[in-house]
Symmetry: D2
Subunit: 347 residues, 4 copies
Amino acid sequence: MSATKIKVAIAGASGYTGAELVRLLLRHPNVELMGVSSERNAGMWLHELHPQLQNLTQIRLKPLEEIDLDELDTLFLALPHRVSMLFVEKHHPLPCKVIDLSGDFRMTDTALYEKWYQTKHVMPALSAQAAYGLPELFRDQIQSAQLIANPGCYPTSAILPLAPLVNEKLIEPDSVVIDAKSGITGAGISPKANTHFPHAYDNFSAYGMQTHRHSPEIEQTVQRFTGQDVIAQFTPHLLPVNRGILTATYSTCKKTISPEALSELYHSYYGEEYFIRLRSDSPQLRFVRASNFCDIYASYDPRTNRIITLSAIDNLMKGAAGQAVQNMNLINNLKETTGLTESPVCP
Amino acid sequence: MSATKIKVAIAGASGYTGAELVRLLLRHPNVELMGVSSERNAGMWLHELHPQLQNLTQIRLKPLEEIDLDELDTLFLALPHRVSMLFVEKHHPLPCKVIDLSGDFRMTDTALYEKWYQTKHVMPALSAQAAYGLPELFRDQIQSAQLIANPGCYPTSAILPLAPLVNEKLIEPDSVVIDAKSGITGAGISPKANTHFPHAYDNFSAYGMQTHRHSPEIEQTVQRFTGQDVIAQFTPHLLPVNRGILTATYSTCKKTISPEALSELYHSYYGEEYFIRLRSDSPQLRFVRASNFCDIYASYDPRTNRIITLSAIDNLMKGAAGQAVQNMNLINNLKETTGLTESPVCP
Amino acid sequence: MSATKIKVAIAGASGYTGAELVRLLLRHPNVELMGVSSERNAGMWLHELHPQLQNLTQIRLKPLEEIDLDELDTLFLALPHRVSMLFVEKHHPLPCKVIDLSGDFRMTDTALYEKWYQTKHVMPALSAQAAYGLPELFRDQIQSAQLIANPGCYPTSAILPLAPLVNEKLIEPDSVVIDAKSGITGAGISPKANTHFPHAYDNFSAYGMQTHRHSPEIEQTVQRFTGQDVIAQFTPHLLPVNRGILTATYSTCKKTISPEALSELYHSYYGEEYFIRLRSDSPQLRFVRASNFCDIYASYDPRTNRIITLSAIDNLMKGAAGQAVQNMNLINNLKETTGLTESPVCP
Amino acid sequence: MSATKIKVAIAGASGYTGAELVRLLLRHPNVELMGVSSERNAGMWLHELHPQLQNLTQIRLKPLEEIDLDELDTLFLALPHRVSMLFVEKHHPLPCKVIDLSGDFRMTDTALYEKWYQTKHVMPALSAQAAYGLPELFRDQIQSAQLIANPGCYPTSAILPLAPLVNEKLIEPDSVVIDAKSGITGAGISPKANTHFPHAYDNFSAYGMQTHRHSPEIEQTVQRFTGQDVIAQFTPHLLPVNRGILTATYSTCKKTISPEALSELYHSYYGEEYFIRLRSDSPQLRFVRASNFCDIYASYDPRTNRIITLSAIDNLMKGAAGQAVQNMNLINNLKETTGLTESPVCP
């Protein structure tokens, strides 16, 4: 349809994020998918590994090293952390733009990375330069970046509602409590005891209290956007659904605020953002399922002097692959929403 | 983008089928959605009724009578049965093509309709002329029809695997057992006791044994395609998932058949059909979720001399709205797959 | 087996709480179930209304007025709020002990009741005398009470972990955030839009922010136990499971506390309590399913100076019927755990 | 409470069946649980492995060889097939009664065993003598047996409704179609790809068509009870719930039968059986959840001349541990229902 097809490839297409990228790129009108890699499954047809794709692709998985970076406009890295960083190091300087969906380049302060990921960072200078791929907050940096660190799913759901509050100095920066609940695709495609159906179905529990790597990512990113230090209490939970994150945040206000002023504040930040939908009631996972939307509700409780926000995303979309495609559009001068305007699948 | 936009409207957009039609029509490159109706919700924005659609539409629901049929190429009727028939009667002769998603025009023999639906048919002659909207079997009739009876969800899932077997006279026509399982959207959008979450979740049961209206629809349609009378034992079940039907059929063979010959048979009928995917193992609901595919597996059991088929569809897509759009494409001379080539959403 | 059978009846056996009481009372070795009432279903066999009970009972539902209070030791009221209060008023002074599972007698301060329930309280003096039926905190009052207000499900899950912290003056009393998630049986047995399977399944959302009646119940009860005023931020969520509440609480400490001291604190309050199980990791709903246990985990986060607690109960058991039976045992001088020592059903 | 406590132990308490046996034996008034074994987890507290049991037991897991058979009345073997058989061989002649929950002793014809289990049977003579532990059909043999082969879950659900029909020569013995659906605990406690939550949730599929080991078990057991050869078409499915099997059977009648006669037939076989509940509508999994009931519905379809049955059990109860305890009661001269009369947990 268009002469402007950009050439992309996916490193790591065995997992949920890689498969979701395929789903999005196949329908994208301006993309040519040049290759998809998987070490374990190299040689298989992509639709053998992901049978939902039968009749939709005729691509074979190949080893990562067989992807030719020189022919690409953009490469998506959907690799485990550390593997991602080593790949970037090996191919440095990168001959194409890279969108990394691992945690490897999300911290400008790699000391923080090394503490929370318990591994040495091999490219600290590059990490400091990487753009944080949350377009609603860092659009300018993204557009000019060579390497984009695609945000974590929990951080996306928490940073978007919190950033305006911190930036406007409305809330006490050490009062933030984040109680987040994620569908089980967030735990990845490998079967484990806690994702075994009879253990997760009809069940609910928290995990990773005080130790989850998304905790410093949230704090650091809010700081990066607002210039202010924030200390956030972050607790993730395992929700017995496939997709979706619903995050509640609680912050103590420095002063009272009217409902109208709070609403106005969010509209001033996000009123023009296609992917952010401001709601007048609690968001629901089903209203964002399979879409790139982030639904946000905010309210002020005069009885407690707190602002409470609720936000919903699809963790595989705005929390991973959808946001990555949004970033791809940006860095390739495509309309930011291209390929991402499908209605959520509901119910 | 194109000069060839066709003009369509949806009568009855409050339910799941209507909402799914909106989802599909909004992304369709050759469609202009002229109107959506709802008696109860007239005046509301469509995205107020279906909040997943926020930022995607700016359409208001209006009363059915305000839809202007003269400006339309195709009208979708997503109305309750009987209401549909009365609407068609009132507007006869129809000024545009009509795709009816109710059961009102699916029986050429309206005596059968009157028996199973317990209501008088008001337009028996028209019912006899209506095309049965299963393109893989009745493509020619559909293309030239003014009124298309869009098939029921269970019938679609059962007829597609059975038709080749009956047509080739491979099986005893009175030996057919159909054991079908449907997700709960099939029961509609109105809350009832058996669809109350705590009653349906972590539960499973059959219903409508011997009395389900899809039973005569299956038999009559197989007869219509093959010229042979079939007696089918049909038992539907309520599956604790949102979308999807998995149907098993069991038929006694007239003679033995090799696995190769059986496979060849299905390929000769469906090998060129985009929306039918022949599988080498049991279909799974997740591989067709939110797509228009019908996945089929067939095997011959030499120990029992039976052919067993398993088929999977999304009941809201190939079982309703997706198939309706496929029919719309056909009758408007668009490519049959237009707007329907999205990957399933998995997981 | 014993001469000491106590005589009980259930007013209101149509809902989940009533049915769960039947389940527990049928297996209780010291109870004779004299009657069960339902206005709508009077005359039906109990097992016709609740088919799971077939072969287990031969009791017919009768109208409330036909229950003979004079022959009873204890009456359970599983009626809607207000209906409960009017029944008590009519029969005052009560000829038997009454355990009320509605919200009508949970507030000593009936002005608070009238504000949150938007209805006039007809027996404020009696409400002030009613014991709050949380045995781990109010065992003495319960044992000598004529009328017991059985706690709400959310309050049970929140008060048990919070009471020791407030009582020991460890936390700032206005810093408490309670983020709670409940299975859908908590919404009752009547089908509604938000409990319709396709709306609740694969979904998650908050509701009743700032307006839920359990909010003042939590604050007032903590005050009643500790003598201290607390302001709690309470947000409930609808979890797509049948049974169970998992509640997270976040409280800012007045001073630091070691993990050992925190553990010792909870052991000093609950170490001897059969129904409270102190955990070293997040509780899980599946470990308390169908049981009367409350599992509690508490930790101190030195980075934020907060104590985080997580607690899990079965909302129909420790959150309603199980706790009611525990109270029944207490007021009838039975061993408190009688009939309640069954293993959870897991998975 | 009683002088008649019998002494039992469980070999293999790591899996779901072992844990369910513990749940039942702990509440059984006439049982003393002498030991539980697990090779992998020997030394752990039972409640560390199964945290739902905290506060309910103080038993440590030990290696299988440390269980002292000489002190036992009954030993439950909840071991993998083949391991079970080797254990029995090693301890032959058995010093106590043994209830084996594996498939090792279910086939009187061990040639059939060897074909379907692909392993040599080490004790064919003993297998021929073992009682098939389905009390409703083989009560006499069970009472006098030293070794009881506890039935498979699918066979229990299929044999109970079919046995009367075959025994009365009502149906064509080669016409039987069995379409069965099982909750995912049936697949065991070890995480696998097809039981990974995101693959099983919101999904449904068949598996093991023509190859499932329960197929010959069903046919052989019906033959054993009725003396007639039956050929059954058996297709199992994986249902996205934790517990429960719902099985539909379809059989062609030799002659017509009235609804009354069919009802009378089932009442004559099962009217006195506590654990079999004859239903007038489709059974539902929720009505048998966590109980030892088998709910059966049967109807005759005059249009097709078929009898259709629907039956529901909890696969871990009547399909495994519950039935094993029922057998234990029988062989130890306890009332057959002891410890098994709890209400199902619903919802």
